[in-house]
């Protein structure tokens, strides 16, 4: 799964597969963090809550 696990091979297939995987995970992770931080800031009043 990671270059640490011994199945890992330094070839293009692994690059593509895990590359895409980590991109996806990255987006999800990033999105969540952003939302989380935003919420915290709003909660602490550093940022105005948008109403819609």
């Amino acid at each position: 799964m990671t270059p640490l696990s011994f199945e890992w091979q330094w070839n293009i297939e692994y690059g593509i597969f895990f590359g895409l995987l980590y991109v996806a995970l990255g987006i999800i992770g990033a999105g969540l963090t952003v939302v989380f931080i935003k919420t915290v800031l709003q909660a602490l009043g550093f940022m105005r809550e948008r109403h819609f």
Binding site: M1, S5, E7, E13, Y14, F17, F18, L21, A24, L25, I27, I28, G31, L32, V34, V35, F36, K38, T39, Q42, A43, E49, R50, F52
Partner: protein
């Protein structure tokens, strides 16, 4: 009694009625629980699976629900990426159904594998050449996405909304939903496809084997197509069922019609390709393996009629109905077509899983047949129970249908 929890300005049945309504589904869950316990404690000898039927009822259920759950990502895709505003009215339903299907499937898989305790090896010792690994990765990630999409809906619950932070969190999530939807679409596309790939790549099983493009056998693309063709139909069915049970109109027709129309087109395209696929297979893969099409149906309980059923009655027929606006607009026909369409996809998955394994490849081997045990049914139906339960709860306590209030004004 639970009125403070109910959404504003909508009518809900009394807690007691609701309680009794949940009983059958709880019963199913209990049955499933018992079965699960037996399978985990005593082992898979509790099932009628065998070295011949390595995949059986559970995998059929898995693939079926995942295909039907495709409504979630596809509607999400249409709503957030393409920007079909009218679909905002069904997106919640789609998401919840998707969540139910995927979480249910994951739970079943957990019991299906012989060493659940080692399930995580799929990720840790991943063999990326295996379609099933691709499936596992994508499904797991996508389940997270679905959760993220589900959370805001939960946070819209009346009581939770009162908590400022949570409300803000929900709103913020909403704002970036498009991004999640995109990721979800990407992930779903691949796991729906890989589920098909799983069977297409079994090149030593002529009944399932397919040629393809680069590493992807045709089944890869066909599964994606059939999933997004059937997914919306399933969403429609669920909405209609809810409307029927609650005796309310919950979703404006334009949304339903749009879904139906899209599904009609996708189904038609799918069928055309599927027919080509069948022909290519019949005149390519099969004779190359030294077989003729009818050799697959020499003996055994699974006859060629299954394919006729799949392609004509559960394929072309619903496609035609959904294509003709008149039929599409009449509720009974619409529901009938959606039912057929969903049956068709389940049948398709059944053919690829059970029939493939029932047909011997070695000329001196015999045809096999298989009947699930009550434990297998128990776990399969538990997912259904779980689905009904979760959806009922969601409907009761969350504003699943944004237009419910204006479609059903209640005298205060």
């Amino acid at each position: 009694m639970d009125s403070p929890l109910l959404p504003h300005g909508v009518k809900r049945c009394s807690p007691w009625v609701f309680f009794f309504w949940t009983l059958p589904w709880l019963a199913l869950l209990a049955w499933g629980g018992l079965s699960a316990f037996l399978c985990l404690w005593k082992g898979l000898n509790q099932t009628n699976m065998s070295n011949v039927f390595a995949f059986a009822l559970w995998i059929v259920f898995d693939l079926a629900v995942i295909a039907l759950g495709a409504g979630a990502f596809f509607t999400g895709f249409l709503t957030y990426i393409i920007g079909k505003k009218e679909l905002k009215n069904v997106i919640n339903t789609a998401v919840i159904i998707g969540f139910i299907c995927y979480s249910g499937a994951m739970a079943m898989l957990g019991i299906d594998i012989g060493q659940p305790i080692r399930g995580w090896f799929i990720f840790w010792h991943a063999n990326i050449h295996s379609m099933l690994v691709e499936v596992s990765f994508c499904i797991t990630c996508y389940l997270v996405v679905l959760l993220i999409e589900f959370i805001p809906i939960i946070l819209e619950n009346r009581k939770l909304e009162e908590i400022k932070e949570l409300r803000m969190f929900g709103h913020n999530l909403h704002e970036v939903m498009a991004m999640f939807a995109a990721t979800g679409t990407f992930l779903s596309f691949f796991h729906q496809g890989s589920l098909g790939g799983m069977f297409g790549v079994m090149y030593a099983r002529p009944f399932a084997a397919r040629e393809g493009f680069y590493i992807w056998p045709w089944t890869f693309f066909l599964f994606v197509l059939s999933a997004i063709a059937a997914g919306p139909c399933f969403t429609i069915l669920c909405t209609k069922l809810t409307e029927f049970l609650t005796r309310k109109k919950l979703v404006p027709d334009n949304a339903i019609q749009l879904l139906a129309k899209i599904s009609a087109w996708l189904l038609s395209i799918y069928l055309v390709l599927k027919i080509f696929d069948y022909l290519g297979w019949m005149y390519g893969v099969v004779p190359r393996a030294g077989l003729t099409f009818m050799d697959f149906f020499k003996e055994g309980p699974y006859g060629v009629w299954l394919i006729v059923l799949e392609m004509i009655f559960c394929g072309i027929l619903p496609a035609v109905i959904l294509m003709t606006p008149a039929a599409r607009k009449s509720q009974p026909w619409l529901i009938f077509a959606c039912l057929l369409n969903c049956t068709g996809i389940v049948l398709n998955r059944f053919l690829f899983i059970v029939v493939t394994l029932a047909i011997p490849v070695m000329p001196f081997d015999r045809f096999w047949s298989y009947l699930p045990t009550w434990q297998e049914w128990g776990i399969g139906l538990a997912v259904v129970g779980y689905g009904f339960l979760l959806f009922s709860l969601a409907y009761r306590y969350l504003p699943v249908f944004p237009k419910e209030r204006e479609l059903n004004p209640v005298a205060e």
